[in-house]
């Protein structure tokens, strides 16, 4: 891996920003290129005239101090060309699900260790999508009516991975290869994103119709 992965951090906790800078500073192959307290600030740095170069991966805090909707934040960052790895202090399961539906590439709690975080960033940067037990737990125990249908196999892998097993152990238990197990997890995430996309399109359509009719008057 010759190319350096560029990373940005959107978090309104200054201490955490400093800590992350120190943390990632020592990791070869990663470079923290920007920090901001909101996605808007990241996309339009106030003191720079340079054209914005989207970082490969944006680490986005799930709940920002300005009370902005995580879904909007994720869509904004995705539209700028970055991939998004959501992080949060407490696993707020409903919002984790919303994030995945909105297209986030992964989710981690902030108490994970550095190797886990780095591995997740690398996975997201490579377009593989990052998996974590906390995300799997949120999906496995999603009671909302909008949840996608999962096959029994997908469910089993999801539950085992959510219980803390490594993907390798979960695969062995199910009698399949790690590769297939990862496929199952990818499929679950894809189903959520697909469902999210459809819902979003509907909302968008409704909004467009409303705006059109307002314009027409």
């Amino acid at each position: 891996m010759a190319r350096v992965i560029t990373v940005a951090l959107v978090d309104d906790d200054r201490m955490l920003t400093d800590g992350m800078r120190a943390w990632l500073g020592g990791v070869p192959g990663l470079r923290l290129v920007a920090t901001a307290t909101t996605p808007a600030e990241l996309l339009r740095p106030p003191d720079q005239e340079l054209p914005y170069a989207a970082p490969d991966v944006v680490l986005l805090d799930l709940r920002l101090g300005d009370g902005s909707d995580p879904v909007d934040n994720i869509r904004l960052l995705l539209s700028s060309g970055s991939r998004v790895l959501v992080i949060s202090t407490v696993p707020d399961r409903a919002r984790i699900i919303e994030s995945v539906r909105a297209g986030a590439d992964g989710y981690l709690t902030k108490d994970n260790d550095l190797p886990t975080l780095v591995a997740a960033i690398e996975d997201v940067a490579a377009g593989r999508g990052a998996h974590s037990p906390e995300l799997a737990f949120a999906c496995a125990h999603d009671d909302s009516p909008a949840r996608p249908r999962l096959s029994p196999r997908e469910r089993q892998i999801l539950l085992d991975y959510a219980s803390g097993m490594t993907l390798k152990s979960a695969a062995r238990r199910a009698g399949i290869t790690v590769h297939t197990a990862k496929d199952y997890l990818d499929r679950v995430k894809a189903k959520y994103r697909q469902a999210g996309r459809q819902a979003y399109t509907k909302i968008d359509l409704a909004r467009l119709v409303r705006e059109d009719s307002l314009d027409g008057q």
């Binding site: 108490d111 037990p133 062995r172």
Partner: protein, 396 residues
Amino acid sequence: MALSAVPLWLRRPGLPREQTAAGSGLQRARSFMVLATLLYRVSHLAVGLVAVLQHQRDEPVPYALLALALGLSALVHGTALRRGWFERRHIWADVLVNGVALPLTLYAWGGAEDSAALGWAMLLGGSACATAALVLDRLQVVGVVVLLAATHLLGYRLVDASTAVVLGHTNSLLSSAAMAWVFWWYLRRQGRLLDDANARTLAAEATRARYVERLEHHRLLHDTVLATLTTLAAGGVDANTPQVQERCAREAAYLRRLIEQTADEVHHRGIGEALEDVVGAAESLRLRVTVRYHALPEVPPEVSVALADAVREALNNVRRHAGTDHAYLTATADPGRPGAVVVTVVDRGCGFDPERCEPGLGLRLSVCKRMTAVGGRAELDTEPGEGVRVELRWPG
């Protein structure tokens, strides 16, 4: 953490008043009225026996009718004693047979030709309409009273009873119904008031228990998070030492669970509390435990204890043999089976060969024994290099 032990029955609001049965005020009022009407009827049957012996000693029909009255009374009041309240159709049968048909039959075929011989059968109408006043709807009660009064008037006219007897007995009939109804109304009202007062006491008790629980949380926060933060803020210690970092991580994990739990508070009492104790103990022995709960059902206390013991055993095993300082604990409802629970303890450590290794043996014995004792089951899954997964299910 070990929080106030709120008994299960305190946590179940909104049971319909009638279902709380046994000791409720309403049920007590019912028991009393069942007993009172039973005694009333017994007194009438006793009068009947004396009257038959005095006036119709040699006739068979009055004995048969007395036996019929006795049998029907036994059915009406026996059922009420057993089930706690009267059956509507029994009441109708009592009114129509004992109150109406019986005196007329006694006159027609029993040879009762004066008011002294007929009177005992008329009395049964009085106790019948007292019971009817408790059970039937208001309009039906009026109908029953009119019907029985008509029977009185007709019966006594047939035997040419004196006006004083007719008036006296009819008056007794009406007042039986009226008094039974008034007593019942009063007792029922007192019973409701008592039930409401009890419900308020229980609610107050539950609030107090929650308050105690919150205080307990605050005390724990004070001893842990607040103490650590205050020390760090004072600047006397180096925050970068492993000890301080470890302590911070442990306390952060506690706060994290606390926040997750309060979001879903109601479900996690019982199992959640028992597991929290175990996790706290494991953390103080320097094991990092990632805990996740979801929609835990209420289970009998001994099941919570068994689950907690089994989890303690599994976490001990991680600490001693897994070669890792991190374990995962999940406790959730079993989606396929209402009321069932699944708990897993997982590590990503060295694992072992389940066929040969002695940690496996000890783990399996101690964990399985605890679960099977309460009707649950435990399952072990491991391979060398692949960590250990212990799954506990209840019911098994």
